[in-house]
Structures are given as C-alpha cells and as structure tokens.
Amino acid sequence: MSSNAMVLAVEDLSVSFDGFKAVDGLNLYVEQNELRVVIGPNGAGKTTLLDLICGRTRASAGSIKFKDQELTRLPEHQRVRLGIGRKFQTPSIYEGLSVFENLEISYPRGRTVFGSLFFRRDAAVIERVREVAGLVGLGDRIADAAELLSHGQKQWLEIGMLLMQDPELLMLDEPVAGMSVSEREQTARLLTRISANRSVIVIEHDMEFVKRIAHRVTVLHQGKVIAEGSMAHVQADPKVIEVYLGH
C-alpha cells in the first residue's frame, strides 16, 4: 500500500487522564475506501480513539495525519471541514427540527455566521437532502419532526447528516446499538454502500454485525492494538481470545 492510498495514519498516539493511559502508543492506518471495525473490551480506548481523531479530546503525544496533514493541533470544526465525520454513540440529532432541517443544517455551505444568515435553500440543497434522505431510508419522513422517529431511524438520520458533508473519513460509534434485527440488516447494507467511496471506521460489539461488514478488524486492549487483520485472523489470535472473545 502506497502512502497516497492512506487516508488516516495514527502514530504513537497517547492520551492520559490523570495518569490513566486511555490510549497508549497506538498505531493505526486506514486506507481509502476501507471499512475498518475497531473492537475490544469495555475501557479498551475505542471511543477515546475516535475522540482523539475528531478533536473532542486532545492528544498528549503522537501524531494523527489525515491525507498527510497533521490534525493534532487543529480545532474540531476545521477537522470536519477537511472531511472527517463523526457519529456519536447515542443518536445526536436536533429533536426540535424536522428531518429536512436536520439534514439541511449539515449541508457544507453557509458555515460562518454571515454565511448562515444569508444561506439560501436552493434547488441543489433540496436535491441533496432528498438524495441523502432516500439513501438512509427516510425519504418519506422528510417533513416529520425528528423527535417522532424511532430509535433506529434517529441513528440513520445522524448517519445521513454526516453523509450530507460527503466526508472522506466517517467514524461511527456503535451504530447498531439498540436496533432490531431487521434494522441491523439494513444498517449493514447502508454501511457497505457508503464505504464504496469513502473510508469508514466503526466501533461495534455485535460480532455477527462485524463479520458482515468489516474489511479489516483492529482489536484494542488497554489502549494498545493487540491484533489486526481479517475477522477470521483476529478470531484465531490467542491474545484476542484471552482478553475479549474468550469470555
């Protein structure tokens, strides 16, 4: 793999909270159009890793490069503008607004104060909102208040909000938690489709789901990578079995 195809390069990344090393000298490389799943027991540092990449948490040491650009010193909104999207664990949508407005706010135009005051809802915006709403299965709910959606639909809406920005790297924290079997099935299909032209990092506990979607799997334990490779490969790894899959 050439470095050009590398979208994300995390090297020697560490962060400690009051002496506790949540992430400890971690290395992670994600290629273009790759769907990577990060697994690991509770407290392994999975969510912290995503927080570090999107800027919610500041790194104590190490580097995070996105398309060869160093991210560690950039504020959050600039990382988003470079093309990094982050979905939170619990659905994080604007309950008081309609599905349309939720998606529209995420449209990458009019992001400054005056840009937003003079933002016009033109045909391109409407077309894009409809396209994304259709993609995440909310095509017929566009005019509804977001608070009326089911839990699964709220998760899809947030994924849709990220897709509005057309990010090159999409990070999803437990996207199928609390979903029904059929909703999981549809989410798997959605993730497979959207990873066709972007890189995706997913944190997930549901092993059936991981098997279904992952290109490669990274296993974290105590802030370190202990295994990486195909699902079959990591499942056979004795260290992984010991810390995670075994019990």
């Binding site: 982050r86 604007y94 933002f119 809802r121 409407i126 699964g152």
Partner: protein
C-alpha cells in the same frame, strides 16, 4: 415517493416569512392604536417606558430562548445605550448660558459639584449627535464582543456564563456610582432638556417619542423574526440542544454565540437610549443585578420562545408592578416572586406557550377518553421501516 413527496419538498422550500405576520400585526395594532387611544398621556408615557424594556426582552428571546445563553446582565447594555444618549443630551443642556452660575460654566452640573474644571476627554465626542447615535448600539456591541470572545472561545457556558454576566452588571453599576464626577454617580444623568433644540419634555414630543419607540420596537421584532427564519436561527436551536453535534458538523460554535449575544446587546442598547429620551434621565439603577434579572422575568413571563410574547410580558409585568406598587406597595415583591414560580412550574413557555399547552392538554384528554387519539410523543413503531432503495431512487 412521487408527486405528493415533491410538493412536500416544495412546501418546505418556501420560507414562510409571513408565519408570524398575524401576531406581529396584532402587536402593531395594540401599540399604535389601542394603547394611545385608551390611555392618557401620563399612562402612555409609562407604557412607552415599559416598551423600552421590551427591546431587552426581545434580545433575550434570541439569546436565551433560542440560543440557550442565559445572560443575567442585560442591564449593562440597556444602561450603556441609555448613557450614550444621556451624555449627548446632558452636554446640550449644559451650555455656558444656562450653567453660568457654576464655577466652571459649560460642563454638566454634577461635574462642577465634584470639583471638575474641564470636560473629561471621553465626553468630548458626545457633543456630536451622529457620534452619540452610533455609540448607542456600537459601544454595547463592542463590550458584548469582548465578553463573548473571552467566555465563548474558552467554552464557558450555562450557569458559569450567567454568573459572569451578573458580575459585569455589578461591576458597571459600582463603577458608575463610584465615579460620580464623570458619570453623575447614583443620581445618574438628570435634567435632560432638548435634542438639537427640540424640547423632549413637551406633550407633543412625548407622543412623537412614543411612536418612534414603537416603530423601532416593531423593527426589532421583525429583524428577530428574520434572523430566526434563516439557517442561523435553526443553528441557534440546534446548538442549544446539541452543541457537540453542531461543532462536529463543521461550525465554529463560539462565533454563533458571540454574534447572538452582540445582537441582543444592541437591541437592549436601543431600548436604553429610548428610555433616556422618553423618561428624561438615566441612572445606575437600570444597570445592576436586580434590573437585569427583572428583564429575564419579563421574557420568561411573555414566553422565551416568542418575540411577540416577550413584548407582552414586559408590558404586563411592568403594568402589574405599577398597579401593585400604587395599590398594595408591600405586596409587590411577593407577587413578583409568585409570578416567577408560576412561570417555572406551571407555564414554562410563558404566556405565548399557553395555547400550545392547552392544545396538548385537550389532545391528551380526548386521547384518554378514547375518542380521537393523537400522537403526542415519539412512537417507536409508527410504520414498517422502509427498505433502502437505490441512491435517491426512492424519491
């Protein structure tokens, strides 16, 4: 989705600028016609004074109701706007001819009493009416900008921000009271007479100023409505409820908070300037902590999500204040306290929210009796989940 869906999107696409037109028109009718026709000049002048507080309340609807930024220091901006206007008027009232008995003629009387022998440098530009007019919105906006940069860029928010604004209100009122020679001290700036030779104390001037105030207030409400209708307005709601989500959608959240805080400050300042013109003085009793909190109560009573409601809230609470303090002076404070408790516990969205609350209550009642169940809350299994179609192909 076919034609029905298309027209739906079209409907969404048209911004309903007229959405609040009805309620703004009713408000205009009340302020322009009903009140002037029903009240004598003394009462109308009082109403005019109450309406200057409404500027602050309208600003708080944007800043607090929609943006979620509770400022307990709006009196600072109201006062600064008022003082900028009062300084101009005071200089005009202090011409050498009418102050010839002073030891230093030509400077405001309170300066002379405090042994000042020359006009302080920061008073000089207020000889110009144009400068004073520009200073009314811009000085408070500049202060709000500095406060906003210092607080919001460091992500100070919520209760901490509210406490900081209280501090600023206390600082400014103490500063004004302490620097008597420069500010008029606790008495404020009084004995204002004319504006470019036009006597503001006559009946005709009071009527005219009432109407100027009314036009400015309606303009402020309309401007607020416009702001709320833009994407900026939606973002305010969004960042009130899910600040992180907005930040991680590529927005520099602090800038949006700073802007709405500055806008609310400018609204308050215009109210302050109109107060000075209509009432004829400005004093630190409109700057400190107590008036700032009262202004939040006006907003809460009217409805913190309703621009028009905030105006009615200011009118009603102040009318109640005058009425009670004239009739049962000792009961007023209890009434004010009771009102605030009632707002918090019984009608959290104020007067403007009562209609919605009533509808929800009726829907719940009819739902309970089994006649016409209406969906009032989230219903997880509303319908079968639609399958994912081809990209955009569903629409």
């Amino acid at each position: 989705m076919s034609f029905a869906g298309k027209s739906l999107v079209k409907k969404l696409a048209a911004t309903p600028w007229w959405r609040d037109f009805g309620s703004i028109a009713v408000l205009a009718l009340v302020i322009f016609a009903v009140l002037p026709l029903c009240l004598d000049l003394f009462r109308l002048n009082l109403v005019g004074k109450y309406l200057t507080y409404a500027f602050v309340a309208v600003g708080l609807v944007l800043c607090w109701g929609y943006g979620g930024i509770l400022s307990l220091g709006q009196g600072v901006f109201f006062g600064l706007g008022g003082y900028c206007m009062a300084m101009f008027l005071k200089l005009e009232a202090s011409d050498p001819e009418s102050t010839k008995i002073q030891s230093t003629p030509g400077i405001p009387d309170f300066m002379d009493w405090n042994q000042l022998t020359a006009l302080p440098a920061f008073w000089e530009p207020f000889k110009s009416f144009t400068f004073a007019l520009l200073a009314v919105p811009l000085v408070p906006a500049a202060l709000a900008l500095v406060i906003g940069l210092a607080m919001f860029k460091r992500r100070v928010g919520g209760v901490y921000f509210a406490i900081m604004t209280q501090t600023f209100a206390a600082i400014l009122s103490i500063l004004i009271i302490g620097q008597q020679g420069y500010t008029g001290g606790v008495n404020g700036i009084t004995d204002l007479k004319t504006l470019h030779g036009w006597d503001i104390r006559t009946d005709a001037a009071k009527y005219l100023l009432y109407y100027i105030n009314a036009v400015l207030l309606l303009g402020t409400v309309a401007l607020g409505r416009w702001v709320l209708n833009t994407k900026f307005g939606k973002l305010l709601l969004a960042l009130r409820d899910k600040e992180e989500r907005v930040r991680f959608s590529g927005y520099d959240v602090a800038n949006f908070k700073i802007f709405v805080f500055c806008l609310a400050a400018m609204f308050s300042a215009v109210g302050g300037a109109m107060f000075t013109l209509q009432v004829g003085f400005m004093s630190p009793s409109f700057v400190g902590i107590v008036p700032s909190i009262e202004m939040v109560i006006f907003t809460a009573v009217g409805g913190r999500l309703s621009l028009v409601g905030a105006v009615y809230g200011s009118l009603l609470v102040n009318y109640g204040k005058s009425y009670f303090s004239e009739t049962f002076p000792e009961l007023w404070l209890f009434f004010m306290g009771g009102l605030f408790i009632a707002v918090v516990m019984v009608f959290p969205n104020g007067l403007a929210g009562l209609a919605g609350q009533f509808r929800a209550w009726r829907a719940k009642r009819s739902g309970a009796s089994g006649t016409a169940p209406e969906p009032v809350s989230a219903t997880p299994d509303r319908s079968a989940v639609p399958a994912f179609g081809a990209e955009g192909g569903q629409s």
